[in-house]
Amino acid sequence: MTPFDRQVRAQIYRLFSGGTAVVDEAVIAGSRGWATDDVEDSLDRLAEIHLVKLAEGGHRVGMAHPFSGAGTGYRSVVGDRSWNANCAWDTLAILAMMGDGEAVAPGPDGDVIWSVQDGKVSPEGVVHLLVPARRFWDDIEFT
């Protein structure tokens, strides 16, 4: 990463973790007074090395793991704050980063909710991964 790419990556995470739901080149650039073109170029480089996934057709950040730039039904809740996640794994990862709370996943009969308190997840459950690790980024949205 270039030093600027490092700053852009960190700002993406600062925005998502701070509760910004939509993070795109304009939001990133405006938050730090950067040129939009420079941010777009940086986003392209970050996407190339799989540090973000850009939404189709533009420079909106679709994924900056574990944060999602879209409503997926997976979300993490800490008090009155919540974040969109990409999957069940990421709901737990957000709580690992942000604090104790609830990991919420969509289920066939309504939301499935795990509680995380002091590093303990309840109730127990199983997360099933279909895609082997070396192929995660073949189609990261499917993964």
């Binding site: 990463m1 490092r6 700053q7 990556r9 960190a10 995470y13 600062r14 973790s17 090395i49 540090l51 793991h65 574990p66 794994w89 737990l92 990862a93 709580l95 690992a96 980063m97 995380v116 590093g119 303990k120 997840v121 997360v127 991964l129 082997p132 690790a133 070396r134």
Partner: protein
């Protein structure tokens, strides 16, 4: 999975974070009992 997430995402919010190498990532997986071909990156 929560413990794995804690290890894998440690430092991700920091500006000086660097993505782990494939070997480091495999070591993280292995430290949580995730071994075998499914979890190999190299």
């Amino acid at each position: 999975m929560f413990d794995l997430s804690t290890d894998w995402y440690r430092g991700r919010l920091d500006e000086d974070w660097d993505p782990p190498t494939a070997e480091k990532t495999e070591a993280i997986f292995a430290s949580h009992g995730l071994t075998g071909d499914f979890w190999r990156l190299s």
